[in-house]
Point group: C2
Chain length 229, copies 2
């Protein structure tokens, strides 16, 4: 079982420590703010108050023995940089560090951080993707050349079968699954909207209005299919 340490329990660090604990992972949570340590002690295996730029204090807390360390310190740029260097000298295999500015991120990478996270910037990009492609729910890059997307069934595809549409030969994309909205009744007899998913559909499976297709193909073929009305 991998051991984790989270240093700096701001909004990002606390979220990491909570998510790890919820998944049953042992987490050592560290901050110099007593109030934050108290909150973390309610869910983390161990929560310790210390100044993480103090190498001896980190050693005494057992930080050198962890497999993964997450540094959730952003605005305190000096602390984030000094702590990342100490963790690297402890030879911790995976060091994830949050950064507040790009320059700070460059320093962290040069010091040996395995991955640098810019939470606001990355969320800004993700939220925007979801805003401009209302019909494309998930747009997942499986590799530099291939993408998996979910699209609303184009109008021209309604009331036709996969075989009739010859999607694979005509558009060079694979229909991996069909998602269809259905009315479901829960155990209290209340009706609601659920979703059935049909994996690897057969040629005689038909498409209806409101279906969603999960498609896999090369990037340019996927872009072409997305434009079909």
């Amino acid at each position: 079982m991998k051991q984790f340490a989270v240093i700096g329990l701001g909004r990002f660090g606390m979220s990491v420590a909570q998510t790890l604990s919820k998944k049953g992972v042992q987490v050592l949570a560290i901050d110099m703010d007593e109030k934050k340590v108290k909150i973390a002690s309610e869910f983390a295996a161990r929560a310790i108050e210390l100044d993480a730029t103090d190498e001896t204090a980190l050693r005494d807390a057992g930080v050198p023995d962890v497999d993964v360390a997450v540094v959730g310190i952003g605005r305190n740029i000096a602390s984030s940089i000094l702590i990342t260097l100490i963790l690297k000298e402890f030879e911790i295999k995976t060091i994830i560090a949050k950064a507040f500015t790009s320059l700070q991120g460059k320093v962290l990478t040069k010091l040996g951080a395995s991955r640098v996270i810019y939470p606001e910037r990355e969320m800004g990009a993700k939220v925007t993707e979801s805003l401009i492609k209302p019909g494309i729910f998930e747009h997942i890059k499986l590799s530099p050349t291939h993408t998996l997307v979910e699209v609303d069934v184009p109008k021209n595809f309604e009331e036709k079968t996969i075989g009739e549409l010859a999607i694979r030969s005509k558009y060079r994309v694979q229909v991996v699954a069909i998602k269809r909205k259905v009315t479901k009744v829960d155990k209290n007899g209340k009706a609601g909207i659920g979703e059935n998913i049909l994996i690897a559909p057969m040629p005689d499976d038909g498409l209806i209005k409101g279906d969603r297709l999960v498609l896999l193909g090369q990037n340019e073929d996927i872009e072409r299919v997305k434009k079909i009305k």
Copy 2:
């Protein structure tokens, strides 16, 4: 073409405005800080300096005519709340608002924000997911009951074909694609590692060490396959 406004160009707001502009979308970028407006004017269709709690100034800037407004103001809790209310009174269809605390988020939702974003918290959870499943590169919930994952090829599957392994009938999951590392030579003759992807493999396609499988199936079947050594 949908019209967008981004109000508050902090790390999150600036990222939204930049991502939209890169995708060719017309963006009206607003902030009360002249320096931020100057940066945004280099990529946004329009960038205006104003205090967004001033309703008249927002009207003069044309904000009531947009389809989507993103409020990227977090720490200034009062501004974020007042501005969200003004946007709702303009009857803007989609209002996305960032929040710094959960209580602020609750107020924004009650005032009519279509979606509230907590960038640090949501990124904390996403990063953690990727940390605790090292073998699972992408774990995508396609629906409440079905998941798509990428897994390393289990040892027992190496040097065997898809047909011999009878993965679909034995494990009830569909092999959507195989990803294989290959040596690629770039135009300068330098060799590097690339990745080929084979969509919808045939029964006589074989698996080798280092391959990755993209699998689709019901959640419990996927969990079972993940445990195969």
